[in-house]
Every structure is written in C-alpha cells, then in structure tokens.
C-alpha cells in the first residue's frame, strides 16, 4: 500500500482511511452515495476519488456521524478501499 495515496481523516471517535489507489479504478462511487443516504453527505468525488466536502476539523467535530456505511458499501460495491478504525477505548 502506498502511504502517499492514503486519504485519511478523523471522525469524532475513530479514523477513516481511504486508499485512493483503489478508488481510481472504482466505477460505483458507492461510498459517496451511502454517505448521502445513511450519513451526513460529507463525501464528494474529485478527480475520480472520494474526499471530504467539509474540512477535516468539521468532520472530527461530528460532521462525520460515524454511520459506517462508506466502509460497508465499499466492501460490497467498491474495491475494499475504505477502513474505519474505531478503537474500543475512546480517547477524546
């Protein structure tokens, strides 16, 4: 995995990592659709890759509602490019 192409941001209690190398070959963009349907619609596609449509600070303050749907949809309709890390011990 090329770390330079990892797109990462924090949610309120976790961390979302998107491997943009995989996203370039993805046609479904299911993560963005899922975010609109189940979450708060904070992802958009730019140059073929999903990125935040809000600032990282806004996402961390709760803009990302941690619906987990982007990771789910990417497993089944995308290219397994998204990993959400939710440690059991929350450090705020």
């Amino acid at each position: 995995m090329n770390r330079d192409t990892l797109y990462e941001f924090n949610s309120r209690t976790g961390r979302i990592t998107i491997n943009h190398d995989e996203c370039l070959a993805c046609e479904s963009h299911a993560c963005v659709k899922a975010c609109k349907q189940y979450g708060s619609g904070i992802l958009k596609i730019e140059s073929g890759k999903p990125i935040l449509s809000i600032t990282r600070e806004e996402a961390e303050k709760g803009g990302c509602v941690e619906c987990l749907s982007c990771e789910y949809e990417c497993w089944f309709k995308g290219r397994k490019a998204i990993v959400i890390d939710l440690p059991l011990t929350i450090n705020l």
Binding site: Y38, L68, Y72, T89
Partner: protein, 424 residues
C-alpha cells in the same frame, strides 16, 4: 443509580451537621487494630460493602479491645457476602443505644406523587417495609412540595404524630431537615438512616447510611468521586468499565452493558443485545423459558451511531464462553435500524470469521427495517455464521426466536465437539 459507600454517605451527613459514630475505613486487620487503638473504646467492625443484611450474614462484629478488633477484621476479610469477597471494613466506635428510629427519603415516581417522600418510624433497625406492613401506625410520611422544601415544623409533625417524647422532637426534626438538604443537594434517589439512634448519652446519631445518587447527576458531583455511575452492587468488571467509558465519552444515543456472569463453562450462555428495554425483557424471558442463559445484557437505544452499536457488540462478543448472539430490537419508531445493522455487521465480520456455525438470531423491527435486514444478510453472507433475521411480525412472538436460538446453539455446540482436537 449509584449507591455510595456507608463511609462516604456518613461524610455527607456529618457535613450537614448530623452526628455519626467516629471511625474510619480499614483494608487490613492491622489497620482495623490501629483504628480501634486510636478510638480507645469498644468498636463495631463492619464489612464495608454496599449490601444490606450484613449483620445476618455475620460480617458485622463488636470488639471490646484492639485485639478483638483485629481478630474480627481478619474473620470478616476472609468471609464472603452474596458470593463476593470483602476488601474493606468500616471500624467505628460502638454506640450505646437507648432507642432506634428509622429516617428515610425516597423519590416516589408514581404519577400520582412524583416527589420526594420523607418517611419516619419509631421502629428502627429493621426493614421499613416490614414495619409498614405489620405496624403501619408506627410509620409517618410527608410528601415534599419541591418548590417549598421542608420546614422544621413539617419534620416535627412527623415525630409528634408517632408520639416521640417532646424533648427529642427538635433534634429529630433538625436531622430530617438536614437529611432533606443533603438529599436535594446531591440529587439523591434514596437517603436512609437505619437506625437513627437515640444514644444513652442523649444524642441523636446516624449508625448506618444508605445514599443512592441519580446516575444522571453523577457528572455534576465530581466531589463524590463516582467512577462508575451504574446501578450495580458489585465492583465493575473490565468489560463493564470499557462499556461505561464508551457511554461516558460519546453522548450520541445511549448504551448500557452489564456482565451478568463471568462463569460460562457449563454452557448454554448467549450474549444478549436489546434495543429498547421493554422488548428486551420479552426477549430475555423467552430465552430463559427455553433453557438458555444470558451471559451479559446490553442495550443500545436513543438513536445511537453505528459506531456505538459496533463497540457495544464487540464488548458483548468479548465475553468468553458465549455460544450465540441474540438481538432483541423491537423499537418501532424512534430510530433508523440501518445504523444498528451497519454497526453489527462490522463487529461480526471482525470477530466471527473464525467461529464457523456461531449462531446469531436477530429481531430488527422498526424504521428502515427492510433495509436493515438487507444489510445484515448481505453483510454477513460470506461469513460462516448461522444468521436468522426476523422483523416486526415477530415482536410478540419472541418464543419462536428463542427456540431457534436454542436449536442453533445446540448445533454449534455439536459442531465444536466434532472439531478435530476437541477434548471429548
């Protein structure tokens, strides 16, 4: 609700001007001896545990000398009460009692009352419920108008009604009003002094103290040092502490987790996850009726995030020895169930890939039910678990789900027994 220790409760009473026996907490028999020596009088050595019935259980002893105090402490520290070890003692001066009264304040949350109620009885030292049942003429009560509070004459009248000798009425009245002040200040649900003693040296003293704080109020009272604001009589387990930290640090929705047993070797235990307490009780009853046991009880309600559901599910699954996962989600309208589905799928995928045949029986009813079922089925289709998902038609037919759970647990156990290398 959080029950304070007797020592902490008495500290609060003292700060309100209520007399209590002098004493301190000991963790070893030697510490108990030193406290006894410093008091230089006969002492009472008590197991410092949040259980009633300590005297009957033999974990309250009277010691006339430091030697006896050390011996009593050693005996109590090696005893158990309700299956729990005793790690702390309360060593206090022995008080010579002339008369025992009862004084208590509770919240009566009946829709007809919805107020604190002060209860006073001339029969102390025994259960107030027993006195109220057999000698109701010995109990007087006062429903408090929370806007007006308690005046001293209200408290005096409680004692006057029961024929308390007039010279004691002011002291009892002051004690009851001070108790109400403590009750209100610390947002208690229960404050009970039993017995409230009239001593031979003519003082009024609180010989015991049960103080229960509303768990929602705990964060407003850091001075109480409450680490685990949950209604538990035993110290929290590691999993319970983890679950509480999740709830404490994430206000979105609510989660609750209680580990009901740590011993699951005999089998037949399932992890239990409810969404909404009423439906959850139906599910628990159904499981019990068909012979299954519940290793832990969890609840995720109030529209929690999928992340919160995920964490609670991981904690449920972290309990060793469980042979199935039962979800009783009968909530109809207050949340979108797809969030539960997303959280559960992530937890199951991370935890159950190496547990072929592990049974999951899930009732998911409510808003976005069909979508939630699709997510569960699609998300777990490549996992080697046995998944059955039910919807709103089964909210009042949890008996069927419990029977399915039992069949799947039996199949899972048989499968594990037939695994190569399994000790038969």
């Amino acid at each position: 609700m959080v029950k304070l220790t007797e020592h902490k409760g008495k500290e609060i009473l003292r700060s309100m001007g209520i007399n209590t026996p002098t004493g301190d907490v000991a963790r070893t028999s030697l510490e108990a001896r030193r406290i006894s020596e410093s008091l230089a009088k006969p002492v009472v050595v008590k197991a410092h545990v949040p259980f009633s019935g300590r005297f009957k259980a033999g974990v309250v002893k009277i010691a006339e000398t430091p030697d006896e105090a050390e011996k009593a402490a050693s005996h109590i520290l090696s005893s158990e009460i309700r299956g729990f070890s005793i790690h702390e003692l309360l060593v206090e001066e022995k008080v010579e009692i002339e008369k025992e009264y009862y004084a208590g304040i509770i919240i009566n949350d009946s829709w007809k009352v919805r107020s604190p109620v002060i209860i006073f009885s001339v029969e102390g030292g025994i259960s107030i419920e027993e006195t109220a049942k057999h000698s109701p003429e010995k109990v007087s009560t006062l429903t408090v108008d929370v806007l007006k509070g308690v005046n001293k004459y209200d408290a005096y009248n409680l004692a006057i009604r029961l024929g308390v000798p007039s010279q004691w009425i002011p002291k009892i009245g002051e004690t009851l009003t001070a108790m109400y002040y403590a009750f209100k200040r610390y947002e208690a649900r229960i404050l009970e002094i039993n017995p409230l003693a009239l001593t031979k040296d003519l003082k009024i003293a609180a010989l015991d103290c049960k103080m229960v704080i509303d768990d929602s109020a705990a964060p407003r009272h850091p001075e109480l040092g409450i680490q685990f604001p949950r209604d538990r009589e035993t110290p929290p387990t590691q999993l319970e502490e983890m679950a509480w930290k999740i709830e404490e640090r994430d206000y979105r929705g609510t989660s609750y987790f209680a580990q009901l047993t740590q011993e699951t070797k005999e089998g037949g235990y399932v992890g239990f996850h409810g969404i909404g307490g009423g439906g959850a009780m139906l599910g628990m009853d159904a499981l019990h009726r068909c012979g299954l046991k519940i290793a832990n009880y969890a609840d995720t309600s109030g529209n929690p995030t999928a992340a919160k559901v995920y964490r609670v599910a991981k904690i449920i699954l972290a309990q060793p020895g469980i042979e199935g996962y039962f979800l009783s989600g009968a909530v109809i309208a207050s949340q979108e169930q797809w969030h539960h589905a997303h959280g559960l799928v992530k937890a199951f995928r991370e935890t159950l890939a190496e547990k072929p045949g592990f049974p999951i029986v899930a009732l998911i009813a409510g808003n976005k039910e069909k979508e939630a079922h699709r997510i569960m089925k699609e998300g777990l289709k490549d996992l080697p678990v046995k998944l059955e998902v039910y919807g709103r038609d089964y909210v009042y037919n949890l008996g069927h789900l419990a029977l399915r759970m039992r069949s799947l647990v039996e199949e899972y156990r048989a499968m594990k027994t037939n695994e190569p290398g399994h000790p038969i």
